[in-house]
């Protein structure tokens, strides 16, 4: 049995320092650990079928690690940028695990499936979607990092349009415009039959030259 203190109190919630908030190298591992712990606890606490909201987790992590006092938009931007990245990793790991289970002939229903229902549909929910989105974003990052970052913030941290604007340091109008295009573009990418094939084979994606 896990010692009760871990169960109840979760990981240490030492507040982040100003320096940590601005260092992506430091922020990412902290957030990764924090979000994983929060997600784990949420999965366990909630009744079956309850909703896991990555958005809520990210905001909860914010309250725990930063607190109520707002250190300003710049810090928020760094924080949520890293949180989105961490959340993406966590969700992708889960999705891979799930996809493996399914293809490994494991007939059990995977419980996480129920709990990853999305709130308002901002966050991709099904394992295959998460993996497909992840792959598409991976390619997008190589040439259009800002667009990829926007998608990551929307998908994996569930940031609203104004929050994305603040995090990326651009205007709300720009985000709205970028997002409208990105949405259509991603939808198109994901609708292509190949993109659904890749996650199913589970093979690493090889760039042809």
């Amino acid at each position: 049995m896990v010692p009760p203190s871990d169960e109840v109190l979760g990981p240490s919630s030492a507040r982040l320092t100003e320096a940590q908030l601005h260092s992506a190298d430091e922020l990412l591992p902290i957030l990764y650990a924090e979000l994983r712990a929060l997600a784990k606890r949420r999965f366990r606490d909630e009744r079956p079928g309850a909703t896991l909201q990555p958005t809520a987790l990210v905001h909860e992590a914010w309250l725990r690690l930063v607190g109520e006092a707002d250190p300003g938009w710049n810090s928020r931007g760094h924080f949520f940028g890293a949180a989105a990245q961490a959340m993406r990793r966590i969700l992708v790991e889960k999705a891979r695990h799930k996809a493996r289970l399914r293809h490994g002939g494991d007939q059990r229903r995977v419980e996480l499936g129920d709990q990853e229902r999305t709130a308002g549909g901002v966050i991709p929910s099904r394992a295959e979607e998460i993996l497909a989105v992840d792959q598409v974003l991976e390619r997008l990052e190589t040439r259009h990092p800002r667009k990829a970052k926007l998608a990551e913030l929307r998908f994996f941290a569930g940031l609203t349009v104004p929050e994305c604007a603040a995090a990326l340091g651009v205007s709300v109008g720009t985000v709205e415009r970028d997002w409208r295009f990105l949405k259509a573009w991603l939808l198109d990418q994901l609708a292509s039959p190949e993109s659904l094939h890749d996650w199913q084979t589970g093979e690493p994606h090889v760039e042809s030259t």
Binding site: R44, R47, T51, R108, A119, L140, R180, L190, E194, S208
Partner: protein, 1006 residues
């Protein structure tokens, strides 16, 4: 394929900016202009992609719930082509189709251009073929009169209707913008802003209601927040309700009994439909819209409808309707994370629940009342809606499922007792109020889950009001594996709840199965499937069940439960935990001894714990630990020489349980009944009788007569009346309870049946009715012969005299039992004694035997028993010195018995060496005396004694000598023992081998 995609993608990425530029440029244009733009301005290679992107964009706008990647996967791809729709340019009456903007349950929706009498853009809905029927338009015409009366900025006007080649159509004001829920998510609006948006919707719907028009199909996709467009009336950024009155005209058939599920599906998800609509009732009124608005508010707050569309769509028609009609959605706050959870929890949960009441009489009477309550919330005034009381929930649950009240009570009580009563977790919740709320939610969720997955899944259960609780639980038990397949956490929780429900019914054997399984699932999972409070409740109940079933691992489970509870409470209430610890330790170490001191120490600790607990909040679950620890202590004393002193512990447990459990709870009944028993035996008849009657009334009002705890309370009352000489009053109570107690136990030879027999025997003996007395004595002797548990024997001594055969037989069986434990094990290898199970068993036997007035032959038995038993345990087992001392106290002054005395003395020597206070001389002297006793034994028997028994005793004393460093004596004794054993039993005997091994070890050391 992978390679192909890779190259296609990098190619696309290179020109992404160019694509984006054209995309935005095209978006500025009307659809007709777009086509021209793509043809003339965009490079041909990009054109197919641009067309796809624009189509995807249109789709995200038209199907708001699909507009984000949440639905990107299959739906996005699968419906790209869409159902065959009208081509742009097609004329429908005076309207020219521009493009399709959506597909709904009724048919497709298009953006169209009205040509005359003036040009404007409208939304045109073409009713799906087959849906209309010849009378649809007639009905719609009637409806239009009412629709025409509506004039409100929050309502999209219906402009026209007619029939064209494509079918019947309706024309409405075109509203551009996302649905209200989409808008809220996209803009990240706060809870307050969402409530203001929602109030606008309420005002619009209220306006329609005043004009006598019901909407009947309110849902997020019918409430748009319009952002621009000169054609639309009302201020930008405010919500607008579309499709008013359409449902009545086109969904008339919904009430038809001929409705088939395929068609039902076409009409869309019932996620927002009121229960009365789902039942197909004709009499629909404004309160139905109140319900749908409640569902809308639910989704606005949480991002999901009360019943998830995915789940509903997987169900068949009947189940889908059943869900809407019967199921309670979780409170909105339960779907949220912090900080929103905190804002929604409480009043807003209550408001939404009131709007979503299944019984419309309990809903807000009107939309304006609903809106007014939200306004009160926003201004900080007290709201009309309140928390749904536990009693009401119970009532509703019962009437809804037509189950007997008692089942509901049993299930609910079992669940809340575990979670509310004995939870210790959730320490992070900031206030007690939060804790209580959170737990109530969880308890309710678990009840719902149990009822949903298990009870309701069997239609007979829901329909037959006459089924017994037992039958219901049995059916639930049979379904649990299927109902929770693949959800170990759910299975564990349901089994835990079922086990606790069975336990409160006295069904110990069945309780054991479910509880054990729950614990096994928990232990087998990589994560904790039962949170600590539930695990604790499960273990604690299991402990009791195991004790009553007389199963050997009871102590082990009890130990684990205690550890868990103490760990949980220690962090918050250090002193209290310490007092309870001390109480438990004193009882464990001393209850079986004749000395008063440990009991006095335990009583002091209990008094201290009670004083410390007085400051606890009634909702603090630490109360449960106080109660459980006191019950534990009370039970230990009840079956010990100190049974008369168990009263304060049962009183303390009763009072603690009354603080945190609802009246009539079976656990209160249990502790009261035990307390009554103590008072009765102490001769405090008035107190006993009034307590017993009170407990019986409370329990009976909850459970009726056919219940285990009720029977137990009756038995205690009968016992008390019998002790006062009121035999005629006592008899019916005891006889009524006798049947239930016999039936409800794990086996005939267990605690409750024996207990009940002995009460009847005592009654008839005191009453002077020898025939009845003899009947039950025979039955009890028969039961006693089948029991191997000391508690059973301990109870029999209330009935039988020490020299009566049943009791003598029982003593013999215990000698056999302890002998088995003692001789089946070598030092350090007693199987399964990690939890002190065998130690505890021997202790319990020792305690009961010590209460017996001893004549000489029995002294021999007892002494042998104790001495032999103490050898069974690993070196250092704390039972050794104390039982050795006890054995010696029996053996001193008895003639003969040299061998037993020798063993006892060697054990005292070990005891001296282990207790730090004694001088080294003491243990040397003790060992010397042991050796002298051995010599006396050899001289007396002249080698004609039981050679095997003697050899084993010598081996044991030799081991003690080795342990004490007296190697010479150790070698003499072990060699002696080895020679006898080899001669008697052969070289393959395990006793011989063990001694031989020890001898070699001794040689190796020297």
């Amino acid at each position: 394929m992978i390679g192909k995609r890779g190259s296609r993608m990098s190619n696309q990425l290179e020109r992404l900016e160019e694509v984006e530029r054209h995309f935005h440029a095209a978006l500025e244009l009307s659809p007709a202009e777009r086509r021209a733009y793509l043809r003339e301005q965009a490079p041909a290679t990009l054109r197919p992609q641009l067309e796809r992107l624009l189509a995807a964009d249109a789709e995200t706008l038209a199907r708001p719930q699909m507009s984000a990647p949440g639905g990107i996967g299959r739906e996005g791809g699968g419906s790209r082509g869409g159902p065959p729709g009208l081509e742009p340019g097609t004329l429908v009456g005076p309207y020219r189709i521009e493009d399709q903007i959506g597909v709904g349950g009724f048919g497709a929706v298009y953006r169209a251009q009205q040509q005359e009498p003036f040009t404007r853009e409208v939304a045109l809905k073409v009713i799906r073929p087959g849906l209309g029927g010849p009378d649809v338009l007639a009905r719609f015409d009637a409806e239009r009169q009412a629709l025409a009366l509506m004039d409100h900025p929050g309502i999209a006007r219906v402009l026209d209707a007619g029939t064209a080649d494509a079918g019947p159509f309706v024309v409405m004001e075109l509203v551009r913008g996302p649905t209200i829920t989409r808008h809220a998510i996209e803009m990240g609006t706060s809870i307050e802003e969402r409530l203001h948006l929602f109030l606008d919707v309420c005002r619009a719907v209220q306006h329609a209601h005043q004009k006598g028009v019901l909407h009947r199909d309110l849902k997020p996709s019918n409430v748009l927040v319009h952002t621009d467009g000169p054609e639309a009336s009302g201020a930008p950024g405010r919500p607008k309700v579309i499709d008013f009155g359409i449902a009545k005209a086109f969904r008339g058939q919904l009430t038809d009994k001929t409705l088939d599920s395929a068609r039902y599906r076409v009409l869309g998800t019932p996620a927002y439909m009121s229960p009365e609509q789902a039942r197909g009732e004709v009499d629909i009124d404004t309160r139905s819209d109140v319900y749908s608005l409640g569902a809308l508010l639910y989704e606005l707050l949480t991002g999901r409808p009360p019943f998830e569309a995915d789940r509903l769509s997987e169900l068949g028609l009947t189940d889908m309707l059943r869900v809407v009609i019967e199921e309670e959605p979780p409170p909105p706050s339960a779907c949220l994370g912090e900080p929103d959870r905190r804002k929604v929890r409480g009043e807003l949960d209550w408001i939404v629940s009131k709007a979503l009441e299944k019984d419309r009489r309990r809903r807000y009477a009107s939309v304006s009342e609903f809106g007014a309550d939200i306004e009160r919330l926003l201004t900080g005034a007290p709201v009309l809606a309140g928390p749904v009381s536990r009693r009401y929930r119970l009532q509703k649950f019962v009437s809804r499922h037509r189950l007997p009240v008692a089942l509901a009570a049993v299930l609910f009580i079992a669940l809340t007792a575990g979670v509310i009563g004995t939870g210790f977790g959730l320490l992070e919740a900031s206030t007690q109020r939060d804790v209580a709320r959170l737990e109530a939610e969880r308890a309710r969720a678990a009840t719902d889950f149990l009822v949903e997955t298990v009870a309701l899944a069997d239609p007979e259960i829901a329909l037959d009001p006459n089924l017994s609780i037992r039958t219901l639980l049995d059916r639930a038990g049979a379904r649990v594996a299927d109902g929770t397949r693949g959800q170990p956490s759910a299975e564990a929780r349901v089994r835990s709840a079922l086990g606790r429900a069975y336990e409160s019914q006295g069904e110990h054997a069945l309780a054991e199965q479910h509880l054990r399984r729950a614990v096994a699932i928990h232990d087998g999972a990589s994560e904790d499937v039962l949170p600590p409070p539930e695990l604790y409740a499960t273990l604690w109940t299991l402990t009791h069940v195991l004790f009553r079933l007389e199963l050997p691992d009871a102590q082990e489970v009890a130990h684990r439960a205690r550890q868990l509870a103490h760990d949980m409470v220690r962090r918050r209430h250090v002193e209290l935990a310490a007092a309870l610890d001390e109480m438990t330790r004193a009882i464990r170490s001393g209850a079986h001894l004749p000395e008063e001191e440990p009991v006095t120490r335990a009583l002091d600790a209990a008094a201290r714990a009670e004083a410390l607990a007085a400051d606890l909040d009634p909702k603090d679950r630490t109360w449960a630990l106080v109660a459980d620890s006191c019950m534990d202590a009370g039970f230990s004393l009840w079956y010990s020489p100190h049974e008369g002193r168990s009263g304060p512990f049962f009183r303390c447990a009763t009072e603690a349980r009354r603080r945190f459990l609802p009246a009539g709870h079976p656990d209160i009944g249990e502790s009261v009944s035990m307390w009554v028993g103590v008072l009765t035996r102490a001769g405090e008849m008035d107190a006993a009788e009034s307590l017993a009657r009170g407990a019986l009334d409370e329990l009976r009002s909850t459970f009726g007569d056919d219940n285990f705890q009720v029977a137990f309370a009756k038995a205690r009352l009968g016992e008390s009346l019998g002790a006062q000489g009121r035999f005629a009053e006592a008899e019916p109570l005891l006889l009524e309870s006798h049947d239930v107690l016999l039936r409800g136990s794990g086996g005939p030879a267990t605690f409750f049946p024996i207990d009940s027999h002995s009460r009847l025997i005592q009654l008839y003996r005191a009453w002077g009715r020898p025939d009845e007395e003899r009947k039950y004595r025979r039955a009890l002797a028969d039961l006693g012969a089948r029991s191997t548990w000391p508690v059973a024997w301990a109870m029999m001594r209330w009935v039988f005299e020490p020299d009566e055969q049943p009791l003598v037989d029982a003593v013999d069986r215990f000698v056999g039992r302890v002998g088995l434990i003692a001789y089946s094990a070598r030092p350090g290898e007693l199987p399964g004694d990690s939890g002190g199970e065998a130690t505890a068993e021997v202790r319990a036997i020792a305690a009961h035997l010590s209460a017996l007035p001893l004549d000489a032959p029995r002294t021999l038995v007892v002494a042998r028993l104790l001495v032999a038993s103490t050898n069974a345990f690993a070196p250092g087992a704390d039972v050794r010195p104390e039982t050795a001392a006890l054995a010696l106290s029996y053996l001193e002054g008895q003639p003969g018995l040299h061998l037993d005395r020798a063993e006892a003395r060697s054990l005292s020597a070990l005891g001296y060496s282990e207790s730090s206070g004694s001088a080294p001389g003491d243990r040397v002297a003790a060992l010397d005396q042991a050796f002298a006793d051995l010599e006396a034994h050899d001289a007396e028997t002249d080698g004609r004694g039981d050679a095997w028994f003697t050899a084993n005793a010598k081996a044991r004393i030799g081991r003690a000598a080795a342990e004490l460093g007296d190697r010479w004596r150790a070698r003499v004794l072990l060699e002696d023992a080895a020679a006898t054993l080899r001669l008697q039993l052969g070289e393959g005997n395990r006793d011989y081998l063990a001694v031989a091994t020890e001898l070699r070890a001794l040689d190796g050391e020297s």
